[in-house]
Symmetry: C2
Subunit: 151 residues, 2 copies
């Protein structure tokens, strides 16, 4: 297809990227209902992070879509609901959910930045995926503590 053909389907590049982000997030399974909210929240956040970590530039794309419409995708709506059930007051639900999303996207972007930097400059160490995931979960646990503390 010629590049210009895309503009029959979307108004601009941003709109295209939003649809790409939707497709990426759609393959994430719904969180379990028979678990504590804080536990389900951690599981969902880890799942979202895993999916995005595999896709170059995923953080930018999803970040743009989320910034424009935070409730556009089901996994991120689930995330906001679980944040509330895990202890965030209703009035602070969206702000606390944004914190979780920022941590996910920041973690993905940092890992991809380190990976890119390592291929450009061979002196730099390539990131270890399991260590990155573990560091992410440490930050997550700080958030979860902050949420449960607030009810």
């Amino acid at each position: 297809m010629a590049p210009g053909a895309l503009y029959w389907h979307v108004a601009n590049k941003q709109e295209l990227l939003v649809e790409v982000a939707d497709v990426l997030l759609a393959e994430i399974p719904a969180p379990p209902v028979d678990r504590p909210a804080s536990e389900a929240l951690v599981g969902l956040a880890v799942a979202v992070r895993e999916v995005l970590a595999a896709v170059p530039d995923a953080a930018d794309v999803v970040g743009l879509a989320y910034a424009v419409d935070p409730g556009a995708t089901r996994p991120l709506r689930d995330l906001a609901r679980l944040v509330h059930e895990a202890g965030a007051p209703a009035a602070e639900r969206d702000e606390a959910a944004a914190l979780v999303v920022h941590h996910i996207l920041g973690s993905v972007a940092a890992q991809q930045d380190r990976s890119l930097a390592a291929t450009i400059d061979p002196d730099l160490p390539a990131p270890d995926a399991t260590a990155e995931a573990k560091a992410f979960e440490v930050g997550l646990s700080v958030i979860v503590r902050g949420l449960t503390r607030s009810r």
Copy 2:
């Protein structure tokens, strides 16, 4: 000056933006020593966010620099120290500091994304800077609670 003249001073645009970010971060005052760490942490995070929000692409640029070398700039070193003093165990200090940085950069990127989207699509609301700052502080307070809870 002609645009090409810049390339006598820097290798590429990314390097230029890194220097811009460094200059901006450098003018952030050191946190006060006569205040509780959690309070100083909030003040510093807010100051960093304010400065970066004014610079296009600041989140990407600082994110890349931080991913490669988290301790490169003084304000971000101060941030990691205050995170520790606010309650993060030494073993989790860097991971908790990364959480704060992710929240700062995510908040800045989201605000700039929304601003850009509003100029492209006039139906979308332009972001309100003070509301954005307030939402950021709600997330920050969740982090601070999670930190103080962990000691």
